[in-house]
Symmetry: C2
Subunit: 441 residues, 2 copies
């Protein structure tokens, strides 16, 4: 395909919303004189307009200043723009811009996990009604292809579960805490210094970001609507250096997992720290890497592993989607926009979860204490798998106890913890972490 | 989508060639009364004919005997068959049937790595000329989506390299040899007993199967033609239990890797046993699992891990492709068939490879021997990284030496081995294994 051939063919016009780290990468790719995208699509792909907050700001990106604008209507009303790439992030105004673009018959490529987690179903419905595409590979897992495989390659499967490490910031912190004995504050400060964590880290460390991404993946995998607010979320700030030591002794790593599992007509969707067996692939995902494990009824477990964030990987995902849309536009049509067939699954309440648990607590260091604790658990039908006494402190006459349970119901475990806290011999319950002991497949 | 809606829409007719393990899985999926495929496609997908060698043979598969035939023309000449699924395997007659199907304007979905490795370029050219699709996700990696991601999701990348474990039989054997100290014959016998290896195991243990798959992946990744015969192949039969022990001591696992790497206008393509650092993800791929690591300029390294063979995973890949073709047929068209843009890369000769090496040899157990060996290597500019003397045998006055080198040129190393064999103090050179020390990314 020569440049001349490209120039003869009808052009695909692109409007870009947002020119931050990722937007800059997308712009650079589209403005690259080697025209990699155009050659792949088979016709010119032209960056028509870029929406920014301050069009007059000095930029070193090679974007012609004349196409910068602060006025979204210049993109929305431009009939030569057939595809809008949204990389503003956050819910508003991104959501309104996506909606307006689709309404005006433009296809949209977005990296916006928050919008897709909160309004994905409505926006996909709108896109299908207008006969345009809404693609969002970049919203989860950076450059790792995961939305595409769930939408296409794995369609023959009934997906049973997803287990994922989809927040690189917290995985970096957990890796440092596990390997180097750092505590939470120290790991956070380092992550902030390296630019992995924001000044306000809540979005990452409280599992909000991972929750958005899980809502997107679960909706795709189960062909149903799992919204951001349906996901049970717990962050990593309660973990202490000693939890990592004990986990290691018991044969586990601690990871912030995003888990979605189908059980009949119900879906579990939860983000929380988890004990993961050391020999499991997810236990070996370190640093800022992400990994998504999908279990299909035909394929069994498939793991996708790679860089989950950053300018280049996210640009890769966006350009992949853009090429797909542009090829379809170039062909004058193609298969209908993706629309998840309507399973109507309900989200299972967290209290109904059955899994194993790790409980760390401080108790009086004297005979009979363990019997009392065991009785409280036994009264709720929670069966103890192991008890280890740690760090006996003769001065205060306290000891640290680490209890692991056999599979038990969340509700019963939470009720047991309440009662334990009422025991005179229990000083405090320090931590509860769920233990995921999957069969090794 | 109700059955009534489905019945109103135009039907997609499918012809199936082959009714073995995988063919049976495909037939069962298409004949499933729940019509999962039809509902996903949005119109009826009907199995019209099945090509088998013995139509009269008793089968317990629920395929209506009336659609079985031994006559390929009944599929090739049937205008109601728009898609042919080829799961016969082997080169002929599968290759001719694929060619004839494409020539007659039928799209083809195939699991045939041998045909794609030997004639992929010609067949894709033919498909593009006829405006039909030739899809082959099932030819590599079973149910792991890897062809699709290379063809679509990762298109924005210049792919730098592929490192893969793509033969489950040999990976199972290597896992047993490493973990349980089995030797090659014992591991092979077990793999045969479990049905993982054929009675004639050459296809697996000599790296032929992995070579076909690597040719397919490399052609896709680098948009060029890498043929089966371009791939340098070495099998695993030369490995001994002691090689696994020494590898372990040195911090490595031994894996049969398929490696393709682009360097400027050249491509390396090779299948051989490799020392892989124990902390690398590929070292952790055990048993019959497969894994493909792709390095893109934007994404960095992405790993795809899962079951690389078997009825269900392979069926998943075929049905995924079939749904894609059927959706496009249903929409009356779509983007042009995939056709790799024409890079014309040459395959680098193996002699030019630069990597590290592990050499195991038997030598006389007396002073000065090491100096002679070091001189032979030094004369060829091969620099020694470590030497360990093992298993000194006072009776025969021999010792086993394990030498590892710094990066060196294959040609120089092979020349050194020749000269070493000529030394009086060298009893024999037992093994040469390449060492892949990638940066940890």
């Amino acid at each position: 395909m020569t440049r001349d051939t490209l120039h003869g063919a009808d052009e695909i016009g692109v409007g870009l919303m947002g020119l931050g780290v990722v937007g800059g990468g997308v712009a650079a790719t589209l403005l690259d004189p080697a025209q990699h995208v155009a050659r792949t699509v088979g016709r010119p792909v032209s960056l028509k307009r870029v929406l920014v907050r301050q069009p007059d700001k000095e930029r070193q990106m090679g974007v012609p200043p004349g196409i910068l604008t602060a006025d979204p209507t210049l993109l929305l009303n431009d009939p030569s723009i057939q595809v809008v790439v949204e990389v503003i992030g956050g819910e508003e105004p991104a959501s309104s811009y996506i909606r307006q673009s689709l309404s005006r018959g433009k296809s949209v490529v977005t990296a916006n996990k928050e919008v897709m987690a909160k309004e994905g179903q409505e926006l996909l419905t709108l896109a299908a009604a207008r006969g345009v595409d809404l693609l969002f590979e970049a919203s989860v897992g950076g450059g790792i292809p995961i939305v595409g495989p769930l939408m296409k390659d794995l369609l023959a499967n009934d997906i049973r579960s997803i287990q994922a490490i989809i927040n690189g910031t917290t995985n970096y912190m957990l890796t440092r805490m596990a390997r180097d004995g750092m505590d939470f504050d120290e790991a956070l400060k380092e992550a902030q210094g390296l630019g992995f964590a924001e000044a306000d880290p809540a979005n990452d460390v409280e599992g909000i970001d991972a929750g958005y991404k899980l809502a997107v993946l679960a909706s795709l995998a189960f062909h149903t609507q799992v919204r951001a607010e349906d996901v049970h979320r717990e962050g990593i700030s309660g973990l202490r250096a000693r939890d990592f030591r004990y986990a290691h002794e018991l044969g586990y790593a601690i990871k912030l997992l995003a888990i979605a599992r189908r059980e009949g007509g119900q879906v579990q969707a939860r983000v929380h720290p988890c004990f993961v067996p050391q020999e499991h692939m997810l236990a070996k995902v370190d640093g800022v890497f992400n990994a998504v494990e999908v279990e299909g009824d035909l394929t069994g477990k498939i793991l996708f592993h790679g860089r989950g964030a950053g300018r280049e990987p996210t640009t890769s995902a966006i350009i992949g989607d853009l090429v797909e849309v542009a090829k379809k536009l170039g062909a004058g049509g193609g298969p209908a926009p993706f629309f998840p067939p309507g399973n109507s699954l309900t989200v299972a309440p967290m209290s109904e979860l059955v899994t194993r648990y790790y409980i760390r607590l401080g108790a009086a260091d004297r005979p009979g204490v363990l019997a009392q604790i065991a009785r409280v658990l036994g009264d709720q039908d929670v069966s103890i798998a192991s008890v280890i006494q740690k760090d006996s402190n003769p001065g205060s006459q306290t000891a640290e106890l680490v209890v692991t349970t056999h599979p038990a119901r969340e509700k019963a475990v939470q009720e047991s913890l309440q009662r334990m806290r009422g025991l005179q011999v229990v000083r405090q319950v320090d931590n509860l972490v769920r233990v995921e002991d999957w069969p090794s497949d």
